[in-house]
Amino acid sequence: MPISDIPIFSMLRTRMQWHQERQQLLSENVANANTPKFVPRDLAQPDFSHAQPVAAMSLARTSSSHLGGIAADATQFDLDRRGQFEVRPTGNGVSLEDEMLKVAANQMDYQAATALYARGLALIKTALGKGG
């Protein structure tokens, strides 16, 4: 059983992927802070209410000679559809302050997720014993 199948790890992984994708959108927003008609984008919070961890999908093997690779995760997160705070006369809706706050929050939440992940690993190590 891969470690990512344990619910807490799979949820943390989803969370970290979400932060990763969000970071990309935020950096797009900041890079395009002066581009006319650019509308900033953001991700909506991931939904964990369906506590069932999403099982990793893999390709069906129709022949015994097929390699059972781990399918790439195609998690597509929803975009945040809320309206923006302000749009400048050029049609650009990026507020640098807003984006900087989001980048900082994204970074801190990501650190929280990685710290939890590390704690989870430490927990498993404790359960395994110190290799005595």
């Binding site: 950096s27 581009t35 970074q107 650190q111 990685t114 992940y117 690993l121």
Partner: protein, 136 residues
Amino acid sequence: MDFLKSMAVAASGLRAQAGRMRVISENIANADSTAQAAGSDPFRRKIATFRTQLDRELDANVVALGPVRTDPSEFVLKHEPGHPAADANGNVKYPNINPLIEMTDLREAQRSYEANINVIGATRRMIQRTLDILKA
């Protein structure tokens, strides 16, 4: 890795803002560049444009410097009969550059540049955290 994509996008922002700074500094440097011959036009103010473009390799919206446009507004006329570029009435055309506007523009470019640097720093720290899981 997605984080490297974020960094590449922010780097495209740095490049675009640096190009904009180059155009602005050109304007400031040429604020008093009059024409060589009498009656011809002096240096015309340049404006950097930005456009969003999809980088297919990164699969992300990066920013690029568009064509550098010229400002079509009127030149500033000054009465200097002794000037080599003066026309029949003794007027000399000076570039349509207002240093105050250029400085404000420069400040905005600087601020956007710093914002991109911040994004790169934040992304770098996130990568560092990912690597820290290995040490746990």
